[in-house]
């Protein structure tokens, strides 16, 4: 058996190197752009020729970026919460019950994924405009809910499917009502699905560009669009500075989650 273990360990090491290489690939565009945020040149180059913090100052001088960040964050959080509630209900409906037309329903709930975002953006514009919901937070949140719902539905269904119904039935036999059964038995079991779905939803909503392009305007701008708008005027390392700040923030959030909640336990990945 010794040869097998040694071979396995070598395979693991190769795997480790491969993964490290791939993670480097994933981080690469960021790694080359971030340094430009600290350089003096107006054209983003790598490596930067000198040191300057003027682009960070420029971010501060443009308060619209902070405002847009707030908007993106708020929209992402609200859309995620709505998607979680609606998606979990729907997941229960689809997983726990059999009824005619169930497969059609599944397809409907997954459909927003296959619809090209650009067309959805225009379609939403044409529908929301007479309702006077364009350039409103409500309209934007609704569109984001539609976009993120399939992801939440998928992850929650996946975990719900794996929940052993015997546990729920045992609880009910022991006297718990339906709500207590859900809260104390089912909910903790599907929580990883909820968290995974919420993570997908938050990231996708925050990064969303195409559909938001049509539903925003002055008074309501998301961060990706504000950055894009800025590049219509000039392409300079201010955007690299913004990205640096976002990366730092994400790192802090992930570290905080790890420290206070425990990453593995809650993500169960």
């Amino acid at each position: 058996m010794a040869g097998g273990t040694a071979r396995r360990r070598r395979a693991e090491r190769w795997l480790g190197w491969y993964v490290a290489g791939l993670l480097f690939f994933l981080a690469l565009p960021i790694l080359v752009v971030i340094p430009a945020a600290f350089g003096p040149d107006v054209t983003l180059t790598f490596p930067p020729r000198g040191l300057s913090l003027k682009w960070f100052k420029n971010v501060v001088d443009h308060p619209e970026f902070l405002r847009a960040f707030g908007v993106s964050l708020a929209v992402a959080v609200v859309a995620t919460l709505v998607a979680l509630v609606v998606g979990t209900l729907a997941a229960f409906g689809l997983v726990r019950h059999r009824f005619p037309g169930r497969q059609a329903m599944e397809l409907l709930f997954v459909a927003p994924l296959i619809f090209p975002a650009i067309v959805y953006g225009v379609a939403m514009l044409m529908v929301l405009n007479p309702l006077r919901l364009t350039r409103t937070t409500v309209g934007l949140v609704l569109a984001h809910v539609v976009i993120t719902l399939p992801y939440v539905l998928r992850t929650v269904s996946a975990t719900l499917h794996g929940v052993n119904r015997q546990l729920e039935e045992s609880a009910q036999i022991l006297g718990a009502n339906r709500w207590r059964t859900f809260w104390h038995v089912t909910f903790p079991l599907i929580r990883p699905g909820l968290i995974a779905g919420a993570t997908f939803s938050l990231i996708i909503s925050f990064d969303e560009f195409t559909v938001s392009l049509f539903l925003t305007g002055p008074g309501l701008m998301t961060l990706p669009l504000e950055i894009y708008n800025y590049t219509e005027y000039t392409i300079d390392p201010t955007i690299a500075a913004i990205s640096t700040l976002l990366i730092v923030l994400s790192v802090l959030v992930i570290l905080a989650i790890e420290r206070f909640l425990g990453f593995e336990k809650h993500f169960q990945l």
Binding site: T43, N129, P130, R132, R135, G217, G219, E232, Y233, I235
Partner: protein, 369 residues
């Protein structure tokens, strides 16, 4: 945070002779929705006697908003203190479809568009004609510079020539330099603006025809390294040396250069094509709103504002009355309105505007496959 920008043009009172019913009738005629009517009726009910309004004006991003706020909105507010001018910042391509979709409930009552979109708007019935009484500055503009159709009023122009990276290529002397085999894969081209094709056709003696220009480019398509839909992207490409040559607008090239990008601008010997920025008034608003909009837009042609376009944006002034600083006149991108009227190449923007789908398809099929 309430949707302040959705309030559009709420007027809280008119002169005494406008009856409530007449206004509502006017709104129905303009195609406003029920929601607008109810909202409007509510506000009419609580009308005050003063002249208060809010105008939403579409403007381009970059330097434009600052120039406008300083040299257009502020002077306008001295004459009309109770009118709130709100600037909606976007680009032609993004704003036009939005306006088209919103035509029955228009929010923007006036704005700036380039030649092509002015013609599109005429064809789609989006604009109303300018009234000389509200726009006196129109008289200082050479007639040749005005866009065809009678709806738009030009307020700035710039020559469309060649932007290049001075470290990588020699200053181009002719439009044919874009076809130099040494620049294979190093030219940035446009497929949504056709000025470069017009120039190529003129150079070959075929007159200002976009189709002819496209056909001429077919033999040299290997020089096209990238297509762009944004001036800043082309400037960035040329500045970092990825691309070396780009048919481009003088004003934008000069703005990039003055901000530190490594670009230069020149007008080839065969001439430059005229690009104009025009103001248009949007249909679908009550007469009072249209009047205020036009009075506001007219400030873009005031001497003060014109100098703003010149000194801050490197644009050519549409008004004859403006004196360009001598230092700036040395730049190839700068010229007076009369010079522009004489020297710049013009093409049939109305025809081109109508044929955009065909022209784009022609470019796709000829130059992109």
């Amino acid at each position: 945070m309430h949707d302040h920008d959705e309030k559009e043009y709420l007027l809280r009172g008119f002169g005494g002779d406008v009856t409530r019913r007449a206004v509502l009738k006017g709104l129905v005629a303009a195609g406003a929705g029920v929601a607008t009517l109810t909202r409007f009726a509510e506000h009419l009910a609580s009308a005050q006697s003063a002249d208060v309004a809010e105008l939403t004006i579409f403007a381009w991003p970059g330097l434009v908003p600052d120039i406008l706020k300083e040299r257009s909105v502020t002077p306008f507010n001295k004459a009309y203190p109770k009118v709130n001018v709100k600037l909606d910042i976007s680009t032609n391509a993004v704003m036009y479809p939005k306006m088209l979709a919103a035509r029955n409930n228009p929010v923007i009552s006036g704005g700036m568009f380039n030649d092509i979109f002015v013609q599109k708007g005429i064809a789609d019935g989006l604009w109303v004609k300018p009234n000389d009484e509200y726009m006196p500055n129109r008289k200082s503009i050479p007639a040749e510079l005005m866009p065809p159709g009678g709806y738009g009023v030009i307020f700035q122009f710039t020559p469309f020539g060649i932007m290049y990276n001075p470290d990588r290529v020699e200053k181009p002397k002719s439009w044919a330099d874009l076809w130099d085999p040494k620049s294979k894969g190093r030219v940035v081209m446009w497929d949504s603006y056709f000025d470069a094709y017009v120039a190529a056709a003129v150079m070959n003696g075929k007159g200002p025809s976009v189709e002819e220009g496209i056909k001429l480019w077919a033999g040299h398509k290997q020089n096209i390294g990238a297509w762009t839909t944004s001036p800043t992207k082309a400037e960035d490409d040329v500045s970092r040396g990825e691309m070396w040559l780009a048919p481009h607008w003088g004003s934008w090239a000069e703005q990039a250069r003055s901000s530190g990008k490594k670009v230069a601008f020149t007008i080839p010997k065969e001439g430059a094509v005229q690009w104009g920025g025009h103001m248009v008034t949007v249909a679908g608003f009550p007469a009072k709103v249209t009047e205020l909009t036009q009075r506001y837009l007219d400030t873009w042609n005031s001497e003060e504002c014109q100098l703003g376009w010149v000194t801050k944006g490197f644009f050519g002034p549409a008004s004859r009355k403006v004196k360009i600083p001598a230092e700036m006149l040395k730049l190839e991108a700068m010229m007076t309105a009369d010079d522009a009227a004489r020297k710049l190449i013009r093409y049939d923007v109305k025809e081109v505007g109508e044929k955009i789908p065909k022209l784009k398809a022609l470019i796709d099929q000829t130059l992109k496959v």
